[in-house]
């Protein structure tokens, strides 16, 4: 039954990704400029351009090109970068890994810490600690990510303390995570951006659950408070919170653009900005699809968590 429900969501996800691919492709078609001309530069002869257009399938109809492109996606062929002239995969391979490392670190910090603070805040509702958390989260939520990033840089890298690197070094042949200290500030920035929403949502759902009849009943059964919270209350809060966590994690995929730019972090965000600057259509398409895929996958995971956390949904199908 659960498998069937998950399969259904999976099919919907695939459909959404296909729809996104159409939109992305159509949008990039509207961009001015000819990739072949962009690759070969100003001095290219007409014959060479025609030859490259044929090679890149640019002489075919847009529908044909869409399906060729789509078919390429399935075998990992994202096309040719007009900036480097090489395959997009070569350009993005390392950057995707670097971005994923950054996002994963941020998620691994933000989710557990956010949930824990949210629960703590809900259990101390109305007390000073809770009010402090509320003010803190509101302030953080009001700050754009680059402000948080700049503040952190000022605090830890330039003006106050000089203990952490302000920008990322990526000498050729060396992976970014081989110098762990340079991951700290970007990770912290991303975590601080998503954490207030997770805290607030967890606090709200948890507070509601703690007021419910079954939590009171559990206490009146003599269940120890720790067990009341972990066994009776938290499972009910997880479902709704998973959705918010998913949206936040998905946001990370887009949020890395600004943060990577700020810290000169060699991830897909950087690549996207470069690609837009150089009109590198194929790279823009590829990154858009990747970010969309992250959104879809993360939301799918949240749906699955929601289904698993709610027996009613589980047996309803």
């Amino acid at each position: 039954m659960i498998a069937k429900l998950i399969l259904k969501r999976l099919l919907v996800s695939v459909f959404i990704l296909l729809a996104v691919s159409v939109v992305v492709f159509a949008a990039t078609l509207l961009l001015p400029g000819d990739p072949a001309r962009a690759i070969l530069g100003q001095q290219a002869t007409e014959e060479r351009i025609a030859a490259l257009q044929a090679e890149l399938n640019l002489d075919r109809s847009p529908v044909e090109r869409y399906f060729l492109w789509l078919g390429g996606l399935f075998v990992g062929n994202f096309g040719t970068s007009s900036a480097t002239g090489g395959p997009v995969t070569d350009l993005l391979g390392e950057r995707i890994t670097a971005s994923l490392v950054l996002m994963l670190c941020a998620a691994l910090i933000a989710v557990p810490v956010g949930l824990a603070i949210g629960i703590f805040s809900a259990l101390h509702r109305g007390k000073r600690a809770d009010q402090a958390v509320t003010w803190g989260t509101l302030t953080l939520a009001a700050l754009p990510e680059f402000v948080i990033g700049i503040a952190l840089v000022t605090l830890f890298a330039t003006s106050v303390f000089r203990i952490l690197p302000a920008v990322t070094m990526s000498p050729p042949g060396q992976q970014v995570w081989e110098i762990p200290t340079q991951l700290i500030l970007p990770t912290l920035t991303l975590a601080l951006v998503v954490i207030p929403y997770i805290i607030r949502m967890m606090r709200a759902t948890m507070a509601e659950v703690m007021d419910s009849g079954f939590v009171e009943m559990a206490r009146l059964k003599g269940v120890p408070e720790r067990r009341v919270i972990l066994r009776h209350a938290v499972p009910h809060a997880i479902g709704p919170v998973a959705q918010v966590v998913a949206i936040q994690l998905a946001w990370l995929a887009g949020g890395v653009v600004v943060v990577e730019y700020l810290f000169r972090y060699p991830g897909i965000g950087q690549a996207l900005i470069d690609a837009v600057t150089y009109r590198d259509v194929q790279v823009v398409q590829a990154i858009s699809i990747i970010i969309a895929a992250v959104y879809v996958v993360v939301n799918l995971l949240a749906d699955i968590v929601g289904i698993l956390a709610n027996p009613k949904l589980r047996s309803a199908s």
Binding site: D211, S212, G213, F214, E216, M217, A218, R219, L220, K221, G222, V223, P224, E225, R227, R231, H232, P235, H236, A309, N310, P311, K312, S315
Partner: protein
């Protein structure tokens, strides 16, 4: 206090009477110091059920929960003592309860958190009002029972606990199979859920049981099953029980003694027979008068509600002969007012209504009686056009109505008005009563905006709220006042038919009595026809002159009230009548 303490000391030496829990001068306040309970004294004896009666807000639940040392958010213990005299002191050597119990009992109100926790669920158990809310929806029912045994360390090992779970399930008349234990709460019916709650409470064979309106929200027949279970379990295990309820009829059926609470004070206490037969306090008498009875000997009056709002107009209360066709129906010169013919409704493959027929004359009141799931609400929603994909026809004055309210004409919509079950959710909390009541007038668009206020004020007067309520918001109103406002909203467009969907089931008996009296009066004044949908058969003679008994979407019995109640033709009706608790 002196009587209580001497009784308490005697229980240490003798066994009869077996005082189990003594509450002395309990005072509870809100966090800002307002006193909620003004010194309540209660004694619970072994094997005896004490009924604690009072209206919502009288503090009966607060008193009940205090027995477990629990005070809800916003409330605080002030003074007084609750002492528990536990029974098997040897079995519970690990308990804080038993260490002291050997002496003079445990003072619950002085225990620390950990000692209280050990007491709850093992020595003092609680059965809550709404099983659907109090069972954890994400934990299997068997496990929820086992949890009580686990946290209180029942038996020597897991096998013993598993055996105990099976045993209590059988005790409350539920299957004890593993399959059943692995079910989720939502896979059980309301009655089964409540019996899981009872099994949970009895799992540790407690000394004291606090039952907080455990049958509210259950059907009459389910209710009688649950009451039977409670009765046998109480006498079987020799438990001292506190049965909190607003229903005096229930107390008469179940309890040995009864205590009546009014606004945080205990106003009367004594053996059930004595209190119900010869109530001393005026409030007890008021409560008794408000209880509807099947025989219809009493009249439910506006004065049944003690906290009735000051009358805005005359101040005189008009008493209307309840039921019995006191209202003269118009001579039948034309087609009947409302005819429902062969009404059918399916939800997917589920048949909810299977060919329902009845008709309604002006000034007539028909009670649609049925338990939850009988299709009675579906029926009333079809009549009102809130459900639009039914089959069959609803005819008003000989003209067939469109299925959906959207497609009905303005006049048709105004002719049939609907009052919802819960006045707590049917009024928009952000709008003043006047604004809410103006909406139907705005929609009909017949009156210029200036005159609307006058009509709304008139409607407020006619439901005995008074025009001062125009600018108040639902949050300031009591349940009864809200329901009056909801009735007034249905009246502003001068309907012919009022569909009342369980409109008194969320209200206290005395408030119910005043609403019933109000409806009867409106019926007399305006020739209003009522479709009174309810599960409460005892109201029949008070409100209706015809009854339609609905069971699983089929009308099994119908006719004039006297005929159906005295000579029911269907088994189902007979069973319903047999299950009714009476004073």
């Amino acid at each position: 206090m002196s009587t209580a303490s001497t009784a308490a000391s005697s229980s240490a030496t003798t066994t009869v009477p077996d005082l189990t829990l003594v509450m002395q001068g309990l005072r509870v306040t809100t966090l800002d110091g307002t006193e909620i309970l003004h010194g309540v004294d209660l004694q619970l004896r072994r094997g005896e059920i004490l009924g604690l009666v009072g209206e919502s807000g009288s503090g009966k639940t607060t008193a009940g929960l205090a027995c477990l040392g629990h005070f809800r958010a916003g409330l605080r213990y002030h003074s007084g003592e609750i002492t528990l005299y536990s029974r098997d002191t040897d079995d519970l050597s690990s308990d804080a309860a038993s260490r002291e119990a050997a002496g003079s009992g445990v003072v619950v109100t002085q225990l620390g958190d950990e000692d209280l926790r050990a007491l709850r669920g093992s020595r003092i158990a609680y059965i809550p009002q709404d099983p659907a809310l109090s069972l954890n929806p994400a934990i299997r029912v068997g496990e929820q029972i086992r949890e009580v045994l686990d946290v209180h360390g029942f038996g020597a090992n897991a096998q013993e606990r598993a055996a105990r779970v099976r045993q209590v399930l059988e005790d409350v008349g539920l299957p004890s199979t593993d399959e059943y234990q692995r079910r989720w709460p939502h896979e059980l019916s309301g009655g089964q859920q409540q019996r899981i709650g009872i099994a949970m409470a009895f799992a540790m064979t407690p000394d004291v049981l606090i039952l907080d309106e455990p049958t509210t929200g259950l059907d009459v027949s389910t209710q009688s099953h649950v009451l039977d279970t409670i009765r046998t379990m109480t006498s079987l295990h020799h438990v001292a029980s506190l049965y909190i309820t607003h229903d005096l009829a229930m107390v008469a059926e179940l309890a040995d003694r009864v205590a009546v609470m009014l606004r945080g004070d205990l106003v009367e206490e004594g053996p059930v027979g004595q209190v119900l037969a010869a109530p001393e306090h005026p409030y007890t008498r008021k409560l008794l008068e408000a209880v509807p009875d099947l025989a219809g000997r009493k009249q439910l009056t506006q004065t049944g509600q003690l906290d009735v709002v000051p009358e805005a107009d005359s101040g005189s209360v008009v008493v209307v002969e309840a039921g019995g066709g006191a209202v003269s129906a118009e001579p039948e010169t034309q087609a009947p007012l409302l005819v429902v013919r062969d009404l059918k409704k399916f939800y997917g493959g589920n048949t909810v209504l299977e060919g329902v027929n009845f008709q309604l004359e002006p000034g007539q009141s028909t009670m649609v009686l049925g338990e939850s799931g009988s299709g009675k609400t579906t029926l009333s929603r079809c009549v009102a056009g809130l459900i639009d994909d039914y089959q069959g026809s609803v005819t008003l004055r000989g003209r067939e109505l469109a299925a959906s309210t959207r497609k009905r004409t303005n006049d048709d919509r105004q002719a049939i008005q609907y009052v919802f079950q819960s006045p707590y959710s049917s009024l928009n909390p952000r709008r003043s009563i006047g604004q809410s009541l103006s909406v139907p007038l705005e929609m009909s668009g017949k009156l210029p905006a200036r005159q609307r206020r006058a009509v709304v004020e008139e409607a407020l007067d006619s439901v005995r709220l008074g025009r001062s309520f125009y600018d108040r918001r639902p949050g300031d109103l009591s349940g009864g006042e809200r329901q009056r406002a909801a009735v007034a909203r249905a009246l502003v467009n001068a309907p012919d038919v009022l569909v009342c969907d369980e409109i008194t089931s969320a209200l206290d008996v005395s408030v119910q009595a005043s609403i019933i009296a109000l409806l009867n009066q409106l019926r007399a004044e305006r020739g209003l026809a009522l479709l009174f949908v309810t599960h409460n058969i005892t109201l029949a003679r008070h409100i209706a002159d015809h009854i339609v008994v609905l069971n699983q979407g089929v009308i099994v019995d119908s006719g004039p009230v006297d005929q159906v109640l005295e000579a029911p033709t269907h088994d189902y009706t007979r069973r319903l009548l047999a299950d009714v608790p009476t004073l």
